[in-house]
Amino acid sequence: MAKIVGGIGSSHIPAIGVAMDKGLEDTPYWRDFFQSYVPLRKWFNEVDPDILVIFYNDHGLEMFLDKKPTFAVGTAAEYENADEGWGINPIPPVRGETELSWHIVNELVENDFDPTVCQEIKVDHGLTVPLTLMYPAKDYSKVKVIPICINCERHPMPKLSRSYAFGQQIGRAIESFGGDQKVVVMGTGGLSHQLDGERAGIINTEFDLLCMEKIVSDPEYLTKYSLEDIVELAGGQGVELNMWMAMRGCLTGKVTEGYSNLVAPISNTAAGIQLLINE
């Protein structure tokens, strides 16, 4: 059976992509952030996963308001990135994994989730930045990626409890898939930040640290927060915590922390970096 060996929490902001494009990793502003990926990548390279499931949100490349899914699951054999207007260079196409994707979709629908199923979508920086952080040389042609998109742009958004349950169902689906594939799941985005309004710029590292602690030991605890609570505590875009909850939901075994750091400010955000081992 396929095995989920671990989960990674990571920021996905465009500025990271730009910094990598420009080779700024070792500048004072970026050094501590990129240093945090050294232990993550060491583990990741040793695992050398066959399949990478990436929970992300689409910031306006593919999932526009005309037809906006709450949850979308990619089932394509390949995904393209594209110009988003931010000045990040689009990355080469990402390989998909159709078989496991369809298995996940089947299990989701069988268990009363209502995903939008995507056979042809472009993936935005929410996915490409974390992918590139794992493969800085962009040598990701071997790994198969399953993009799973969660609405974080327009209320109503899925509750933390729903994203967690969504992840749990996906985890069960993966673990019931025949074969001996090694799977890593990524929850991307966050943590505390607010881009808009007179309150722009708030960061709440105390709350972020609480989230990173609870996500290891007691993720259910976090489902007590409504998204309005999250906005109040962690800023308007703090709702990207939903992707971390879905990632954590996938880890159905005994979960321990392999690495953890919080670096702020990275652009307008507190960037959480976390490795969860699933046994």
Partner: protein, 121 residues
Amino acid sequence: MTIKKMRDIEGTTFFDGPMSTKGYPVNKMFHSFNSKDGRDAFVADEEAYMEKFKLNEAQKQCVRDRDVLGLIREGGSIYYLAKIGPILGLNVQDFGGLQTGKTTEEFQAYLDSQGIGKNNG
């Protein structure tokens, strides 16, 4: 009418259904800035481009004034409207300053004041 009203949080506008209805034309225009063609067309003739997307007069005026808070009030979502940033040479710290009445440097200092984890920097 009984659409759920989101919690009152100072300085924060929830981009919810009614806001998304109100802001659809302006967000659709910003969304078009994904493509170079869209960005170029906007730069070439802002008024014609806004007309093409059927912005209302209030929305047009906010675009003319580069009034970010106004755009949010008129239904703009930061996710889409930020795509005007690179066209105008503004990054998200500039946006932060514009919305909080700070210079970009002051806004950056505010961010830095909440910093953590930059020990090797």
